[in-house]
Amino acid sequence: MRRLVRLNLRTAIAFGIAGFFLGAWVGREIAAGHDYLIGTDQDDVAVFMGFLFATIGWLAGLGFFNYPVSRLLGRPAGYPVEEAKGTARYFRMSTDHKVIGIQYFFGVGAFFLIGGLNAMLIRTELLTPNEKAFPAGQYLTLVGLHGTMMIMMTSAFILGPFGNYFVPLMIGARRMAFPRIEAMTFWLTPLAGLVLMSAIAWNGFPTGWTGYAPLADQARAGMDAYIFAFMLIGISLCLNGLNLMATILTMRAPGMTWTRLPIFVWGVLSTSILMVLASPVLLAALLMGMLDRTANTGFYLASTGGSAYLYENLFWFFGHPEVYILALPGFGIVLEILPVFTRKPLWGYKLAVAGMLGVAFLSFFVWQHHLFVSGINSTLRPFYMLTTEMISVPTGIIFLNGIGTLWLAKMRYTVPMLFSLAFFFNFLIGGLSGIFLSDVPSDVTTHGSYFTMAHFHYTIMGGLVFAFFAATYYWLPKMTGLVLNEKLGKIHFWTMFVFFNLTFFPLFAAGFLDMPRRVSTYAPHLQVINDLVSSAAFCLGISMLIFVGNLIYSLVFARIPAEQNPWHSRGLEWQVPTPVPLHNFDEIPEITGDPYDYGVPGAPPVARLRPASAPARAR
């Protein structure tokens, strides 16, 4: 059964498109006899069947079904790894976690730029108080596309590239626990991005990123794209979490005790708990919405015995842990980076672990703070207010770890360090403004305003995206084997830091001045603030282009080979050669010391790599 065609991105796209039209035809046939399905004058069944078949075609085109089918026929289990060079391997299904990490980096990065482009268009419309560039409906779609794209992509922003690439290297493993599932979590992500963008073909969707019912039940076919895309991301998140957790729990090298586990891996572990448990709820919530739209059920329709609150509850039961799916890996990264550039041990390692696990645990008990103004029973409010405020305790602990590590330290202001420091600055503002939103009295006045919007941009962009760039400048030399230009990196940092704050800080004020989210018009006296924000936002966009320019310059033109351990880090991932050999470690290493014993006299080396690992093997 050798393949006749080479399966890669091209076959995936071809099979995906063919699958869509086949599925749409099947869906139309199914709907034909049922008047309630066609009575709504739109063929949701055909659209969903199209997406389903497109997904099957996409995965088949990449070769994901070859192995399951061979297993169904009784062939033995195994893990082939393609030892290939060149760029072609990045456009195929690969089970090498290092290839997948790089696929994630560029794949998710591309969609991140599209989401950013949406933001630029939003800020263009907001240059004037009146409707100018886009009609109200299109503006709403733009906001929805921006929000959904960003949430979908940022969920995989750190765990995708750096989790998949570095967790095995940091714990001394040769691969992830489930390499094929790892490949699938990646390949579902760009598909989800494409499906979401296909909503434009049906004039988008009106709900914003939260997809609230009953509007989602009434919306036209663009909503189907939202639902299906988010479902794909839900599956991808759940499987990614499962895989990461299985890897960390079972594949640690000998000597890698729980107290020697790098703090980034702890961040990944606590996040993966949330991914495994919260994303199935999102999947179920979206499937119910899909049934409402196709099979005519009434989960979210009060007119047929359902309730829109059901959606709000299920969505936010996922949605709040999702916030920490975004944030916890960021905490892990900055705490990982600080000791390297302060040359001090991480202060309060165990406290940091407790803080992360505490955040993960508490995040399941706070979701109703998103419903404070939805008319929930007011006796429920204090409980959720209290639990939400309690989250600031473990989060505060993580801040304490950062400050303790920085205390009296001689810092090296490298680019990753600058981004890490900015993380603390931004996240402090984001976190403190969050307390206002967890507080019922202040939430009822700021809910749905730009205050909320500024708050979560401070946590997600100011926190997560800054941590992402810290990780990028820190680890990309290891991943690509090439040095990133430091001067351009610093220009990128300073422009991004300054214009990020100039963009989002004034929006707190706009919120207090009652500027509502998701509306394309605003009171004329707010124009000065909005024009300031828009111009800062355009400069923020330019700072991203500086980063892209740096990538192109450093990886395509300059191509300066990176040292094995340019930051003099004790991390195990830096003890292997650059580029990392196919099997990571010739022999599974033995961990002999703590990862953060910087400047500790007599500290043992972090690991014995038994036979000193040879540089990249033959070929």
Binding site: E83, G86, L277, S307
Partner: protein, 203 residues
């Protein structure tokens, strides 16, 4: 693009580690599955308690659509006996003779597929439409996705049987893969018990 890749194989981890990975994976998958169905449990309790416009039970307030208890019991029985047969196979595999594990697993597979078939047949003769109230929605969603999960579990079981048929000698490995499968299948059994109590008993 670049040269033809050569496929090598990652040096095999020891089989014990592979088995531990699959076992842990099964527990995690069970946890995720549980949370998936907890969403339907929540939907059941929430919509039933809320009873929007009195329409929980059916298209008219105070009315409840008929439930097809007979086929419900049949599905429950198929699933539970199948779960027990897998446990039996496990006991057999851990014992000395190992004579019965194959028929037990094959029987479990057939019963699981029977549960899927009965559910599909039941949909053709429900006695109520999907739009007839909150109960109808939850019923359709819960049983529908349960059936899909059951079918997936049966594919897994088939894989174990097919692998063992090709390489019959490795009993300890078969035992470990059956044990991992059993965790997931027992979880689905618990989901089915909850579904039966709520969808046919409490209504």
């Amino acid at each position: 693009m670049s040269a033809e890749p050569t496929t090598t194989w990652i040096p095999a981890e020891n089989p014990e580690l592979e088995a531990r990975i699959v076992s842990l994976g099964s527990y995690l998958l069970s946890a995720a599955t549980t949370f998936f169905f907890i969403s339907f449990l929540f939907a059941f309790l929430y919509l039933r308690a809320l009873n929007s416009n009195g329409l929980w039970g059916g298209p008219k307030p105070g009315h409840h659509v008929p439930t097809t208890t007979t086929s419900g019991i049949a599905i429950l029985a198929c699933v539970l006996v199948s779960v027990l047969l897998v446990r039996l196979a496990l006991v057999e595999l851990r014992g000395s003779t190992r004579a019965l594990w194959w028929p037990a697993c094959a029987g479990a597979l057939l019963l699981g597929l029977a549960a899927v078939a009965i559910q599909c047949w039941q949909y053709t003769d429900l006695g109520f439409g999907t739009e007839e109230g909150g109960y109808a929605s939850v019923y359709l969603g819960w049983t529908g996705f349960f059936t899909i999960f059951t079918f997936g579990a049966m594919l897994w079981l088939e894989t174990i049987l097919a692998t063992a048929r090709r390489a019959p000698a490795k009993a300890p490995e078969v035992e470990k893969s059956v044990a991992s499968f059993s965790v997931f299948w027992a979880t689905l059994g618990l989901v089915e018990i909850a579904a039966f109590i709520l969808l046919y008993g409490v209504k």
